[in-house]
């Protein structure tokens, strides 16, 4: 039975590993850190029709950080939007699920992975919904590395200026990007303060604590002060698999059978 109740972090992580092993894919660490963010939003906050992921009255969940898409696929499998075979045939010739978010997959909203796109598209959706006076919310997940992109800051300043209080931006702050620690590339000191300065309500939480994420979303949307919301979610790249946690090589490494089985053992 497909249901949001099935969105259990360990199960989602196992789905990610199944996909990553089946497809011999990279970006495993990028997906593992997003699990609780997705599970909490899908389970407790996003309003949508299970039978119609593209229902026009839905809330929007946008993965701007397209590299983490396996986490979203893993959730979509539990929601019944993808089949076991979709995961097990990941990256097979002629299949639809790509290695980065692609808007042509039902359930995904934007084509991202080229970074700095999804935030602006989400801001446009939120602006439209504000003008139309709907109650639809837009959740947008961006990476801390992605915030190197100037376009993100264009979107942030616009959302703040236009008081888009129907937005919740979640920064997946795993402190790494493709080649190194973010602090060694573009050091983002006081990210929360920076975003706050653009007229956002900002809360910083443990991005792997579902209750904290849950409360943060509730608290931010209850503020009613005409500001967009932002959660800086402190996460661990590769979370849940000991040999991947904070090991940035797992941005690019692939699982062999032995490592796959070892990882699964940790998620029983």
């Amino acid at each position: 039975m497909s249901s949001a109740k099935n969105l259990i972090p360990k199960k989602i992580r196992r789905n990610i590993l199944d996909m990553a092993f089946s497809g011999s894919t990279v970006h495993i660490g990028c997906a593992l850190c997003l699990v609780e963010i997705f599970s909490v939003i899908y389970r407790n906050h996003l309003r949508y029709d299970y039978t119609k992921p593209d229902d026009p009255n839905r809330d929007f969940l946008i993965l701007s950080k397209g590299h983490g898409v396996m986490a979203q696929y893993a959730c979509m499998k539990e929601l019944g939007w993808l089949k076991d075979s979709d995961l097990l045939n990941y990256f097979s010739d002629g299949t639809k699920l790509k290695g980065l978010s692609d808007s042509r997959v039902r359930g995904l909203e934007v084509t991202s992975g080229s970074l700095g796109h999804g935030l602006s598209v989400g801001v446009g959706i939120a602006l439209g919904n504000k003008i139309s006076q709907t109650k639809q919310k837009t959740f947008i997940i961006v990476g801390d590395g992605e915030l190197n992109e100037g376009s993100c800051w264009e979107a942030i300043q616009f959302a703040g200026h236009h008081a888009l209080s129907n937005i919740c931006m979640i920064v997946d702050k795993n402190n790494f990007q493709a080649m190194d620690k973010t602090s060694n590339i573009i050091n983002q000191q006081n990210l929360a303060t920076q975003i706050e300065a653009f007229n956002f309500n900002v809360t910083e939480v443990d991005g792997h604590n579902e209750d904290d994420l849950d409360n943060a979303i509730n608290d931010l949307f209850s503020l009613q002060n005409n500001k967009p919301s932002c959660i800086v979610a402190n996460t661990i790249k590769g979370k849940g698999v000991s040999f991947m946690e904070n090991k940035n090589d797992w941005h690019y490494l692939r699982l062999d059978k032995a490592l796959y089985e070892q990882a699964l053992l940790e998620l029983e």
Partner: protein, 302 residues
Amino acid sequence: MRETFSNKLLDIASANSKVLLLSGDHGYGLFNSLRQEKPSQFINMGVAEQNMVGVAAGLSRVGFRPIVYGLSAFIPIRVLEQIKLDVCHDNLPVIFIGDGAGFVYSHLGTSHQSTEDIAVTRAIPNLIILSPGDRFELERCMNLAYDSSLPVYLRLGKADRGDVHSKRLSFDLGDLITLKNSERERKVSIIATGSMLEMGMKLCKSFPSLGLVSVPSLKPINKNQVSELCKSNDCLITLEEHSVFGGLGSIFCEIASSFSNIEIHKIGIQDRFSEYCGTYEYLLQEHKIDLESLKAEIASIL
């Protein structure tokens, strides 16, 4: 032409409250009537073009009809990837207006000049490219763009060259407009787009036997009509205020090469940036696409 643009924009916005004009802090004076009569349908997005295009994509996903306005040096050049990924990949109904194409900003230098925009946008799937040559073509292009409900790049070049046509037009996407057939024994026609259409008219006065065809729709383009033109002429001269790479001339060569040996001369901007500052006319001279230079070139072709 600019007045036609402003009026038509107001018509479109008045007919549908979901039409929103997004400007990247450009269009001084151009949107006065829209801002006065439909203020909620104009949004100055600031000097942030990437975000503007992403926002337009988002707005179109929730039922709006965004028209994105900027100078063609920025829209589409600066935001090519947003046009590709955020808009065209999903075939969203967003109209991009790239104003001042070619050398309109002759005094401002390369940052504001745009001579590569057709070449790069042509290769993006789903994107319609329109390049009107006078106010009548512009009005029809704006109707076609809006009615298509598809991604459209509308290229606006030098706008004060006067009328070429004398009445409202009813061409469709892809259509060529024949203004005049060649009257020579060896049939030679000028094929022009955008600002160079009016130049083509002038050249026909100097060389009355030339034919003249306007191409307001660069993509799609009606291949059968191109084929007919190749059959009924011995030589075509394409004329555009754009690089000779990838624009109108390339379009004709690409199509004709599969079925015709017709001689095609591509006249446009050679592979170089502007070196000097000056009037629009001066820049045309620098790039040898002013009237006198073109007369000499055409005389040598004839």
